[in-house]
Symmetry: C2
Subunit: 141 residues, 2 copies
């Protein structure tokens, strides 16, 4: 059975072409796209896709814990296929959002939990300039 059909079934969501396409797209394109990007990319193969549907599906999938919305900037909704927990780096110059795979701060997490907080989500956002933009800056002088 298709991997994405399985994911939706497991969460009790109906199988629709739109949900499958968006899920596949996010899994295969780990670029933290915004709503506009998802919509315009998928419209190529499915011209009738409505932007409202993209909003709805992102909402459903987020509630089902199949993806997460980043709040690394407040100007747009950035979507991330939910794989292992990881953190992010936003380059202020090219605006790309990179994944950081390294494990992140178990010590503080333990500390907070031991103080009685119930922690459901851990978000780590680093902001600055990526290597590629730094290089361009060097080259361009």
């Amino acid at each position: 059975m298709d991997r994405y059909v399985e994911l939706l079934k497991k969460k009790g969501l109906k199988i629709t072409p739109q949900r499958l396409e968006i899920l596949r797209y996010l899994d295969e394109n780990r670029i933290h796209p915004n709503i506009e990007r998802i919509h315009s990319d998928l419209k190529k193969d499915n011209p009738s896709l409505s932007k409202t549907t993209v909003y709805n599906v992102i909402d459903d999938l987020t509630k089902a814990d199949l993806l997460q919305i980043l709040t690394i900037n407040r100007f747009e909704i950035l979507c991330d296929f939910k794989a292992d927990p990881h953190h992010h780096f936003l380059c202020k110059e090219c605006k790309k959002v990179y994944d950081l795979d390294e494990d992140f701060n178990c010590h503080l997490l333990e500390k907070i939990r031991s103080e009685g907080y119930q922690v459901d989500e851990v978000h780590g956002y680093f902001k600055g300039t990526c290597r590629s933009c730094l290089n361009k800056r060097e080259g361009g002088k």
Copy 2:
């Protein structure tokens, strides 16, 4: 000289009553208020304060690095007087945002820097349920 006058002067910003009031308010109320809250609280003593001015001043002070805007949720602008770097815990139940004073993940920060990223900001956001809300839940059963 007034502490806040000094801060503004150091950054080359003109001294205005609105800027001083907002700066003082944020320093004395470390509750990560949103624009609406700042505006309505300060309007009590200064009825002519415009919401546009709150937006403008927050913008100026952020650019001057005197405060930071949290992106812990995408529904509102939360302001934080810029003191020592620290991280945050959002309670999904009462919506309060707590400061986490513990030092946070120097290891990963070093790793990223060593890989060539230039890191300007580090944001750590934890989300879940705070002790006070957990207690209420227990008591209310």
